[in-house]
């Protein structure tokens, strides 16, 4: 994944020999990823698209929860805000870029306005306050019928595959969502690689100590909250492109909690973890539904407990340990 998460460096001679190999591996993986939509069914492509959509939302949540240590139960509100903004824009004939701009701008503004007072709180009080976001957003969406279509939601045609691509809509959407998600992941990775990442780590470990060491605690927490909100806004736009429909269900507390759960299941403070968590969130209910339709909720909960029991550092943490382990075995 990222440079910081790579396992301890192998001996120099080995890594020098391994470097071209690694690049070959990257290219193979990239080609494989790009090829998948060509062979997968439209349903599979939609599932993959949704994983990327929620991956972006979870990535944003990770900045606030995983990096800064501030538990939030409000991420669904930003996802929904982005989706509704995009629906409005597309519904009024705006282009995709303008729609994205509106989604991001709205989510960002709301995030800043909420964050400024909220970051004064610590620990669980902060988490419970963020719970107010979905609590307000759902009734609001139901009431603003002209903008949101009320409880029925809005369906729009966001984008269709241009003729020259020769792609079906599901393939086109997956590529589009994939490219935007990749850009967001790259941006967030770069953002966290520097001072912000260090400041958030300091805040997570000990706020008072961070402040004593000259970290602007409130400002950085507002920043983390805003990044989370912006990612939520982008994810909302992506969601609308993927699903072409939005209703108040997307704003609900349930989804906010599910995203938090997915973050921990995937593994906090990890780009890969955000994607793995999203995959767990999207795929496991399908699987459990197939195993035993009437008990899918119970089986889902048990799956969750099993992951937490055996991999408290999430799927990404487990994967990392597996890689280190195999590398040691191979080296020996």
């Amino acid at each position: 994944m990222t440079a910081t998460e790579r396992a301890p460096a192998a001996p120099a001679t080995l890594s020098a020999r391994a470097r071209p190999l690694r690049w070959v591996a990257y290219v193979v993986v990239a080609v494989a990823l790009l090829a998948i939509p060509q062979f997968a069914s439209p349903y599979t492509n939609l599932q993959l698209t949704l994983i990327l959509v929620y991956g972006v939302a979870i990535l944003g949540l990770d900045v606030l929860v995983g990096r800064a240590g501030q538990v939030s139960l409000g991420q669904s509100a930003f996802l929904g805000l982005g989706a509704y903004a995009a629906a409005y824009a597309f519904g009024h004939g705006w282009g995709p870029v303008a729609a994205l701009a509106l989604a991001v701008a709205l989510a960002g503004v709301v995030a800043v306005l909420v964050a400024i007072p909220a970051v004064r709180l610590r620990g669980f009080a902060f988490g419970i306050i963020t719970l107010a976001l979905p609590a307000f957003a759902v009734p609001l969406a139901n009431r603003l019928v002209d903008l949101t279509g009320g409880s029925q939601g809005v369906a729009v045609v966001a984008t269709t595959a241009p003729e020259w691509t020769g792609q079906a809509d599901d393939q086109w959407r997956l590529y589009l969502v994939g490219v935007v998600a990749a850009v967001v992941f790259w941006l967030v990775h770069n953002l966290l690689d520097g001072r912000l990442g260090r400041a958030l780590a300091a805040i997570r470990v000990n706020e008072a100590m961070a402040a004593a060491n000259g970290v602007a605690v409130h400002r950085n927490k507002v920043l983390a909250f805003t990044v989370a909100g912006l990612c939520g806004g982008v994810a909302g736009w992506l969601y609308l492109i993927a699903v072409q429909f939005v209703s108040p269900a997307i704003l609900q507390l349930n989804l906010a909690v599910s995203l938090l759960v997915a973050l921990v299941v995937g593994g906090t403070r990890s780009l890969l973890g955000a994607l793995l968590g999203a995959a767990f969130f999207v795929l496991v209910p399908n699987v459990t539904d197939n195993i035993s339709p009437g008990r899918s909720y119970l089986v889902n909960g048990i799956c969750l407990l099993v992951v937490l029991f055996f991999f408290p550092r999430g799927l990404a943490g487990a994967l990392r340990r597996l890689l280190t382990w195999t590398r040691h075995r191979v080296a020996r």
Partner: protein, 292 residues
Amino acid sequence: MIAVQQIVDGITAGSIYAALALALVLVYRSTGLVNFAQGQMAAVSVYIGWSLVETGLPVWLAVVLTLLISLVIGALTERLLIRRFEGQEPLVAIVATVAVLICFNGLINLVWGGSVRAFPSLFPDDVVSFLGARATWGDVGTVAVLVGTVVILQLFFLRTRLGLALRTAADNPSSARLLGLPVGSLLLVGWGLAALLGGLAGCLVAPSVPLQPNMMDTILVYALAAAVLGGLDSPLGAVVAAWLIGIVETVAGANIDVIGSDLRIAVPLALLALILLVRPQGLFGHRDVERL
């Protein structure tokens, strides 16, 4: 005009939030954890109570048995599921309680099915009036049971050896171990008592709502708001905050047209936000002296 009636209704509703909030505070004090499954565990208790009533037991006996079973379920949940996460990153522990919530919800669907059922009244249906307000015996009983519970809890924590042991383990687990206290078993007792209190909240609210697997979800949000508003580690604070929330919610819901039924759940959260911005440590909480 704010009628006495609305205040009475608010206190009744607040008493139910208070019982669940007390459960949250109990768990928070003993494990430093907010148990998001507390409401779902209470719902399990209600369904067990319903089944006991169906067997023909008198309601009150069924409730007492339910509370004892809840105690065992709470203790087992701590020992078998939550123990693994204690001392780990709090975020993982919180998500574990969410997983427990999902499991218990699934369990209710599995055992009792999703169909709506009704729970019998615990109190006579007659109406009493005072100061121009009318209340059912159910309302009076709910408040009385809550007040009685608080008194018993205070006596238990302040006057008994087990209460002192629980306070010791909650205050400083490593010191408690050095004093020879079996901290793990005390956590188990704390979770058991919390589940009992949650079950009580469930049985108090059950007669006036339809039984559904997620019947306690909204009440949990109110209870969370009350617990945080009360300062999270103060039982008395949680009760006062719960009453305040109940009253404000009822009065605002009845007098401010914009609120309506769908925005009512946002009222306690807005109140919480307003108060916490002035007093970040809650109404009765200790301001933690953070050490470097």
